[in-house]
């Protein structure tokens, strides 16, 4: 199986990246802070406003290392792309399918069904791990939501059109996030979840989720590009300028597994504190520097976890799942499989 390669996250404000032979070197204020051989690295993500030498950019493009620039909140700014990226035949098929909702239906059914099923698994794990510490009402609420999601997932897998599926996805999200606060066992005065808010996140849980979703979105985008897709044109997410629709599609089924579960773990184990977040005058909450670093370390660790892939039946690192799903989607579009097998976590 493909190796799970490391990602370098560069968070220092004044960092400069350059190439030294077959190494990537990170400098801050002219002194070397880190060095890694290129063949060990799968991606580089730069927060804040660092620079990178053109020689490094070229070497990354050549070696298939994704080099991206993100804002401190994780918003995508730019990436370096080499001549090798993209596959015109696959992209043409992708566009044809995106223009024909009847054709894309089975893909979207799978994505929504898997996302809903995976949300349900998050609830079941919470019941298993903390059920005996919950109040009777809390437990009953999660159990009821879990049952609803079970049925929603099965209905989504046979839904008649994409518009219906968008509605079902929204309903499932509502059911799930309605009980999300109940799964938080940490300090309730610090971590309260008041429904999903994104622009901006209005509480610490939302700030954490948004940041993790940005990281996941980044990985999904890289995975799609590395198998030759256009990450902008999606099937579930309609086109909107500047939006990576297919990356959003791909990340749906992985959000509960990779991001939501990790957010709950970080909070419930007390790995994040109030001081790891900042609240601005308008009420927008974001991760502070130290908090962001702690989350990135946990994110990297989480991606190393092994699991059994439901379709391939192989053990692999969780961090490889976006790549494998992108691959399976491309194999479906190229005609190897008669559908897209989404990622279902149990």
């Amino acid at each position: 199986m493909r190796r799970h390669l490391n990602t370098i996250y560069v968070t220092s404000e004044g960092a400069w990246l350059r190439k030294d032979g077959a190494n990537i070197v990170v400098e801050v204020d002219g002194s070397e802070r880190g060095r890694a051989p290129m063949h060990m690295i799968g991606g580089i993500v730069c927060f804040s406003r660092p620079g990178a030498s053109p020689a490094l950019m070229a070497a990354c493009a050549e070696a298939g290392i994704t080099l991206s620039f993100l804002s401190p909140e994780g918003k995508f700014l730019a990436r370096v792309e080499g001549p090798r990226s993209g596959n015109v035949l696959l992209r043409r098929t992708q566009y044809r399918l995106a223009d024909d909702p009847g054709h894309a239906l089975s893909i979207v059914q799978g994505i929504v069904a898997a996302k809903t099923a995976n949300q349900r698994t998050v609830l079941r794990r919470a019941l298993r791990d903390h059920g005996d510490r919950m109040s009777d009402t809390a437990r009953a609420a999660i159990e009821a939501a879990e049952q609803r999601l079970f049925h929603s997932a099965r209905r989504a897998s046979v839904a008649g059109d994409v518009a219906t599926l968008r509605g079902m996805e929204g309903e499932a999200a509502l059911t799930y996030f309605n009980v999300f606060d109940t799964m938080i066992q940490g300090d309730k005065s610090v971590f309260r979840f008041n429904g999903r808010s994104r622009r901006p996140p209005l509480d610490r849980v939302n700030a954490l989720l948004s940041f993790l979703y940005a990281m996941l979105g980044h990985d999904c985008r890289s995975a799609l590009e590395s198998v030759g897709f256009d990450p902008q044109v999606g099937f579930l997410h309609a086109d909107r300028p500047g939006r990576a629709g297919l990356a959003l599609d791909l990340m749906e089924e992985m959000r509960p597994v990779l991001a939501d579960r990790l957010a709950l773990t970080l909070i419930n184990r007390g790995q994040l504190k109030a001081r790891d977040f900042v609240v601005d005058d308008g009420g927008a909450v974001s991760l502070a520097d130290e908090g962001r670093k702690a989350v990135l370390v946990a994110w990297q660790e989480r991606k190393k976890r092994e699991l059994r892939h439901p379709f391939l039946g192989e053990n692999m690192a969780l961090g490889l799942v976006p790549h494998v799903q992108a691959l399976l989607l491309s194999r479906h579009l190229r005609g190897d499989i008669d559908g897209y097998p989404p990622f279902i976590w149990k």
Binding site: L89, S157, I337, P341
Partner: protein, 212 residues
């Protein structure tokens, strides 16, 4: 002497790389993944092969005992629809003698011979000569193996070239076939031969996953 007229651009565009023949003989799906889908997988084996070629290509032409040695010569044949590079071509008294360097050892299948013969056919077209033989050099055994371009090898090479070109022009990727050779394939993890050789009906598979 006047320069020859430039070739038809469409014919130039239709040329496929010489290396595709070898990929095709190893596995048509591997050939399609690389040359149709442009999947690039540099694993240990290909990186090592590239280093060997860089060393070979790096040298300057030299001359010893009346033999002129040219490295990295660009080859082309419109009859076969191929283009590429030769590792080494020795010109022995005006007759070209191609030598191809291979990592590893001689193989049971004829992919290396076909690639070398294709080089010879390119050289014949380019220089209007007949090339009776060439050699393969294997890194692991450090031995030259003389290859005679007989009628049978020429026929095989032409057939493989035609099949390869047709497959690439059709832009279709054959289904995988799980076989022992897959273990040595740099595209194994991309190809998923075991799972995709006889994949389940996805609708049924999904329903099974969603049942409790």
């Amino acid at each position: 002497m006047t320069a020859p007229p430039p070739p038809d651009p469409a014919a130039e565009d239709a040329l496929v790389p010489l290396s595709a023949l070898q990929h095709y003989l190893f596995c048509p799906r591997q050939c399609a993944l690389i040359h149709v889908e442009r999947i690039w997988a540099e694993d240990g084996a290909t990186a090592e092969g590239r280093l060997l070629h860089e060393r070979v290509d790096g040298g300057k032409p030299d001359r010893r005992q009346g033999v002129r040695v040219v490295r990295g010569l660009t080859l082309r044949s419109f009859a076969l629809g191929l283009s590429g590079k030769a590792d080494v071509v020795e010109f022995r008294g005006g007759v070209a003698y191609p030598i191809e360097y291979k990592r590893g050892r001689p193989k049971s299948h004829r992919a290396d011979e076909v690639q070398l013969c294709a080089q010879a056919l390119c050289l014949e077209e380019m220089f209007g000569t007949t090339i009776p033989e060439g050699a393969l050099f294997y890194g692991q055994t450090k031995k030259h193996q003389r290859i005679v371009f007989d009628a049978e090898l020429r026929r095989l090479t032409k057939d493989v070239a035609a099949e390869t070109r047709a497959m690439i022009a059709g832009a279709l990727t054959p289904q995988p076939r799980a076989m022992p050779a897959c273990r040595h394939c740099s595209l194994f993890s991309h190809c998923q031969p075991e799972r995709l050789e006889k994949p389940p009906v996805i609708r049924r598979w999904l329903a099974g996953q969603l049942a409790d």
